[in-house]
């Protein structure tokens, strides 16, 4: 009796509940109004400015495609997102696997570490990496003390810095869902593989990996999409020569006041992001988009 329970929670007299077709819609009004006014409207008008400012036309899109500077920004964005995704998967897969099979005390400890890093303020994490990776930072000092290197390595303001900082941020987003995928697999399947004579190597590539692949792919896609739109960490760890799309948008608005071009760059970022999310939902319908819960 969905209508009865509905009215009960909405604090109407239960007896006075005629079966209504559209009950509950009114309760969406405040949140719909909030999002319409402060989400849909401003985003649409930003995108509109890309073809109306300063005059009507596609000139901003032509500039984005035609200028070497902007093409390089797009290339950097895709490069950083790809490198971060690969490193995150390479580090994250063994951890998710380990977490799924370790004694629960240890897996709880790993989970605690992941959650602590995930919930620590983003700027604090980025600042910490700036400190650790700088020329006089702990990592360079230690490597020099051990005689591994003679000169401090350039670890920030380049691709290395962004990759380390971004991998740190993205790791929990891959490990947590992947851990659930592997945990849900039945160990008997692998015992069966062993009984049938599979070596460890075969059991991994022919059984475990294919079974875990949907989890890996959906996690990797999510990491890739999230990396594409990141602003803070690349801006602080990446340096000017490795500008990404999100930084470009911020700079166009803040320093150059070029709203038209910023709108066009936003549309490019939005189309790529939403396109990949649509792909994710199509490929992995059950879990897509609900990672935060």
């Amino acid at each position: 009796m969905p209508t009865d329970t509905m009215t009960a929670t909405l604090a109407l007299p239960a007896a006075a509940a005629p079966p209504r077709r559209r009950s509950g819609l009114a309760w969406l009004t405040p949140s719909l109004a909030l999002l319409a006014l402060f989400f849909v409207l401003p985003v649409l008008s930003l995108l509109l400015r890309s073809i109306t400012e300063p005059e009507f036309g596609l000139q901003h899109y032509a500039e984005l495609v035609g200028s070497w500077t902007y093409v390089k920004v797009l290339y950097n964005t895709l490069l950083v997102a790809s490198v971060v995704t690969v490193v995150t998967v390479v580090l994250g897969f063994p951890v998710a696997w380990l977490m799924a099979i370790m004694p629960s005390r240890w897996s709880r400890f790993l989970m605690g570490c992941l959650l602590l890093s995930m919930w620590t303020n983003l700027l604090v994490r980025t600042y910490a990496w700036m400190v650790l990776l700088q020329r006089t930072g702990f990592i360079n000092q230690t490597l020099m003390k051990w005689g591994v290197i003679d000169e401090p390595l350039a670890l920030v303001n380049n691709l290395t810095g962004v990759t380390i900082g971004m991998t740190y941020i993205m790791l929990p987003f891959l490990v947590l869902p992947l851990h659930a995928t592997i945990k849900a697999l039945d160990p008997a399947i692998l015992r069966a593989a062993a009984t049938c004579g599979a070596s460890r190597w075969q059991a991994f590539w022919l059984v475990l990996w294919p079974l875990a692949l949907p989890g890996v792919a959906s996690g990797a896609l999510m990491v890739f999409v999230m990396s594409l739109g990141y602003f803070v960490t690349p801006a602080l760890l990446g340096g000017a020569s490795h500008m990404m799309l999100a930084e470009l948008i911020a700079q166009l608005v803040q320093s150059l006041l070029n709203w038209g071009l910023a709108g066009a760059a936003s549309l490019v970022l939005l189309v790529i992001t939403l396109g990949l999310y649509a792909l994710q939902l199509k490929l992995f319908p059950a879990k897509g988009g609900q990672h935060a819960a």
Binding site: A8, L28, P30, L35, V43, T120, N121, A292
Partner: protein, 269 residues
């Protein structure tokens, strides 16, 4: 075999264990180092520090800018939490229990602010707030953070309501409870853990929000992340390490409270 820790075989067990240890070190290193360095006496954040000091904390307290930014952040986050949980609750209730067409689609729509690159939302909101004069105001910050925090509340509470057995309410009604009693004494207590979780998510999302805030801020009204951001663009002063340690402490406190709540709930059932 591969899903049984004791039968992994020694080489595999050792290599997985090594990667696990490495990743734990990777995860904890920034947090541990910043905490230690905030007590170190080196202004260039050399590790190990030549001596230990509370100087950076004193500088933080002496600077009214840091305290003011913390106060602004807290006020904004509290209002955002209250609005996000209450709006999220009625929205989730309607989405899970309502009987109107297009519910799945609407549910997807409510998640979009989380999916969209924040920088696009930030620039768009900035343009709107410039027009109506909301930049640098309390209301502007609350609106920006609320748009980002609301999806977290809605997802958490939708999941909770889907797992909630509505027959409980009917049972209470049959036993003679009034609808208000049902709401206050059955539904809310049953969902208290999820409401609390939605609150924690919303608070942390608002408290940590950087991108929208950078655009929204004016020198007169900035939140803590904005102040850290501007400080970071100048130098890596150890005062930021002290502020960071305070923030890490707050995160740990929240995780502890959440863990206690969870334990309490495990015992309760």
């Amino acid at each position: 075999m591969l899903l049984d820790h004791d039968r992994l075989g020694l080489p595999l067990r050792l290599s997985l264990g090594a990667i696990g240890t490495l990743v734990v070190a990777f995860l904890l290193a920034p947090i541990v180092f910043i905490t230690l360095l905030s007590f170190g006496s080196s202004p260039w954040l050399i590790f190990p520090p030549p001596g230990w000091t509370l100087q950076w904390y004193r500088e933080m307290w002496a600077d009214p800018g840091w305290l003011q930014a913390m106060w602004h952040s807290t006020r904004v986050a509290l209002v955002v939490t209250a609005l996000s949980v209450s709006l999220g609750f009625i929205t989730a209730l309607a989405l899970v229990r309502g009987t109107f067409p297009g519910r799945a689609l609407l549910r997807g729509f409510f998640i979009t602010p989380m999916v969209l690159p924040v920088v696009v939302l930030a620039v768009a909101l900035y343009a709107l707030c410039l027009k109506v004069g909301l930049t640098g105001t309390f209301v502007g910050f609350v609106i920006g953070h609320l748009v980002i925090a609301l999806p977290f509340s809605i997802i958490t509470l939708c999941n909770a309501l889907e797992g909630y057995d509505f027959a409980l309410e009917e049972a209470a009604l049959i036993c003679g409870a009034t609808p208000w009693q049902v709401k206050w004494r059955v539904t809310l207590p049953a969902l208290r853990l999820s409401l609390f979780a939605a609150g924690v998510f919303s608070f942390l999302v608002s408290w940590d929000e950087v991108v929208v805030s950078i655009f929204m801020a004016t020198p007169g009204m900035e939140t803590l992340p904005v102040r850290i951001w501007s400080a970071l663009r100048q130098d890596l002063s150890p005062v930021i390490a002290a502020v960071s340690t305070v923030l890490i402490g707050i995160t740990l406190l929240f995780m502890l409270i959440a863990a206690l709540f969870k334990k309490d709930d495990d015992h309760g059932h």
